[in-house]
Amino acid sequence: MKKDIILAGVGGQGILTIATIIAQTALKAGLNVRQPEVHGMSQRGGAVEAHLRLSSDHIYSDLIAPGTADLIISVEPMEALRHLDSLSPTGIIVSNAKPIININDYPEVEKIIAAIEAIKGSKVIDADKIAADLGNPRSMNIVLLGAAAPFLGFDPSLLEATIASLFERKGQAVVDANLKAFHAII
């Protein structure tokens, strides 16, 4: 088993929470993990990314080679397309629909979404709206994780225990809210 995943977003959106949940779960499932991420200057409202490599065999490179990623998970639609050069011909994108418009020349959102949906098997979901409708807007990431869960290469239900333990110290209500977000569109 081998999955190469790109996580993308804008600094401050918390793509590393998604990465952490997947990586911790993969470790428990006995897989090897590599997860290079961006720290430092670009975290300040700029484009950020993390690579996540999961494999039952030894993993050599931390970075995913261009044109070979199985999956792009993006919490922002234009950021999903920024990493299109990473995607393999059979790879798919799971992206949030809501744009973060903090630049002057942000393109038309409809065109971006159409470009993502043109890639076979890809999904664009309004994770912000779904999370807000569930009464927990901050769980946008977890809604998106749920949408991506079937494509991770291991049993999606294994993620539940990791989500529960991650939010444990914030109380059972927060755990339940996040599990609900996870199941919103899995």
């Binding site: 804008v10 600094g11 990586a23 911790q24 470790l27 090897n32 993990v33 590599r34 997860q35 290079p36 991420e37 961006v38 720290h39 430092g40 200057m41 670009s42 975290q43 300040r44 409202g45 700029g46 484009a47 690579h51 065999d57 030894h58 993993i59 050599y60 490179s61 931390d62 970075l63 995913i64 080679a65 261009p66 044109g67 070979t68 234009m78 950021e79 397309l81 920024r82 299109l84 050069d85 990473s86 995607l87 393999s88 011909p89 903090n102 630049i103 020349d105 942000y106 393109p107 065109k111 971006i112 470009a115």
Partner: protein, 525 residues
């Protein structure tokens, strides 16, 4: 124990488990997480391990050398350019030698993700004539700690640990020991006179250091981190250093037909190298950073058998990746799809509510009244003031250079000449520049942006924050020209007036612009 750790964290866990007594550092990407991990470690708290930030890399280096003098194990951590700041103590620590193990830990930033240059610290290790270990994986980051401390103590020499961005900032599952080793007891160095670098003593020390070189080379031959891996096809041999080894293995799918020499310990293992060179027709050198090994192998006569970054098989600058490495070997690779034109640049920017925004707005308005003003910047979040919408600074060179470049420009006749520097950068390297300016009453205005933290690296302790005006007055700045403003939109007019008055004043002024970083403030809520 199985854990997922960043390379920086794996290294920190490694030194903790190897009996560390003191961690010294100044924050700098990609090295910051080493100290942060030690600060958050339960073991470090239980053992009372030193884990406070230092003013700069030089003070950190010397403090760590003091711990070593006392017989205990210490690490000092910094980013690559920090070693320039620590350079004096670093090079001379090779001459004094060490007592307790001392690991000078430097995280290089090839491709300059968060840096001004991409200098390769292996040159520094060679320059100081000390061993250097360059791990190739997070597991090696952990494993090397005990080995390196022992190497340091046995040979009474500091060891340079070279990390690079993609190792420091990548997580991996690693195996750690179940129980940590004991810490060293306090003990005096044998022959304590060797720490007194009077010429008469230093001469003997330098001679001894030269004599040790043969031992260091032998250690590299026997190192568990260097290995010669046989291959059937000897038409080509590969030298792969540090993390570049992974890219080579990835490119060949873990099954390389050519012999490979993996190098993670220096000085270069000459016997291993000559075995490879004698066996193979040509050699491809793959290294993350400068062509350090490649240029040594090519030599001044540019041996055409040696290929790599200098021959264009790999890019001359920038970090490597599996794609670039596969291309160097003419392997078939997936061609990446094009990124649509729809995608626009999204550069980093100052946060909404950041105090620097108000400071720059006020400074820009105050300075607009002058014909040809110049603002010299420094290293920190406020360097983003160079980008739109502010475009407010003309330079960013090195820690503290705003004050001294502004002074030089004023010496040459530029007016107004303004320095913009953050609180942490000021106490790192700005204070000595102020002393120069005080001595000559230089006609400059220094704006110290005091947000109470070392912001760019994520909010670490800033040693002088909150008392910068006292420090400046102590350094001799005329108290009448030391002003404090609060960078808030509602104070804009008042701030413009204060700045304009000090720009007009012919002499040294300091304006402290003080409001807490919006990121650290949010975290408190």
């Amino acid at each position: 124990m199985k854990k997922i750790l960043l390379g920086d964290e794996a290294y920190a866990q490694g030194v903790l488990d190897a009996g560390l007594s003191g961690c010294y550092a100044y924050p700098g990407t990609p090295s910051t997480e080493i100290m942060e991990y030690v600060q958050n470690s339960k073991l470090a708290a239980e053992r009372g391990i030193h884990r406070e930030w230092s003013s700069n890399e030089k003070t950190a280096m010397e403090e760590a050398l003091g711990v070593s003098y006392a017989g205990k194990r210490a690490i000092v951590c910094m980013k690559h350019v920090g070693l320039n700041v620590a350079g004096d103590g670093f090079v001379n620590s090779a001459v004094t030698g060490t007592n307790g193990g001392l690991l000078v830990t430097v995280a290089d930033d090839p491709s300059m993700h968060s840096s001004q240059n991409e200098q390769d610290s292996r040159f520094y290790a060679q320059f100081a004539m000390i061993p250097c270990i360059e791990p190739s994986s997070q597991q090696e980051c952990y494993d090397l700690a005990k080995y390196a401390f022992e190497l340091s103590e046995k040979n009474e020499i500091p060891v340079l640990i070279r990390l690079t961005t993609r190792l420091s900032h990548s997580r991996s599952n690693i195996e750690t020991a179940d129980a940590p080793s004991a810490m060293n007891d306090l003990h005096a160095p044998n022959n304590p006179r060797r720490f007194v670098l009077l010429p008469a003593i230093a001469k003997g020390n330098v001679k001894k250091l030269c004599e040790k070189q043969a031992d260091f080379a032998k250690l590299s031959e026997e190192s568990p981190f260097n290995k010669l891996i046989d291959g059937k096809d000897t038409s080509l041999g590969i030298v792969a250093t540090g993390i570049a080894y992974n890219y080579v293995m990835e490119a060949f799918g873990g099954n390389c037909p050519y012999p490979i020499l993996k190098i993670s310990q220096y000085p270069l293992p000459k016997k291993m190298l000559s075995t490879l060179l004698n066996k193979c027709d040509k050699i491809m050198v793959v290294e993350e950073g400068a062509p350090f090994v490649e240029s040594q192998l090519r030599g001044p006569l540019e041996d055409p058998r040696i290929m790599g970054r200098l021959t264009g098989h790999l890019p001359r600058t920038g970090e490597l990746n599996p794609y670039l490495v596969a291309k160097a070997f003419d392997l078939k690779v997936a061609e990446p799809p094009a990124i649509p034109d729809l995608v626009k640049m999204r550069p980093p920017r100052l946060c909404d509510g950041c105090p620097h925004v108000s400071t720059y707005n006020a400074l820009k308005e105050a300075i607009a009244k002058f014909e040809d003003p110049r603002v010299f910047g420094d290293i920190g979040c406020y360097t983003l003031g160079a980008l739109p919408p502010f475009q407010a600074i003309s330079s960013c060179v090195d820690m503290g250079a705003s004050v001294t470049m502004a002074k030089g420009a004023a010496d040459a006749g530029i007016h107004p000449s303004v320095a913009v520097i953050g609180d942490s950068t000021f106490t790192h390297s700005g204070m000595t520049g102020i002393l120069d300016a005080v001595w000559e009453n230089a006609n400059i205005t220094v704006m110290i942006l005091d947000n109470g933290t070392t912001g760019m690296t994520g909010g670490q302790t800033s040693i002088g924050a909150g008392r910068l005006e006292t420090i400046c007055i102590g350094l001799g700045v005329n108290p009448d020209h030391v002003k404090v403003i609060t960078p808030l939109p509602q104070k804009h007019a008042e701030n413009v007036e204060t700045i304009a008055a000090e720009l007009k004043y012919e002499g040294l002024s300091v304006i402290v612009s003080r409001r807490e970083c919006i990121q650290t403030l949010r975290r408190k809520k």
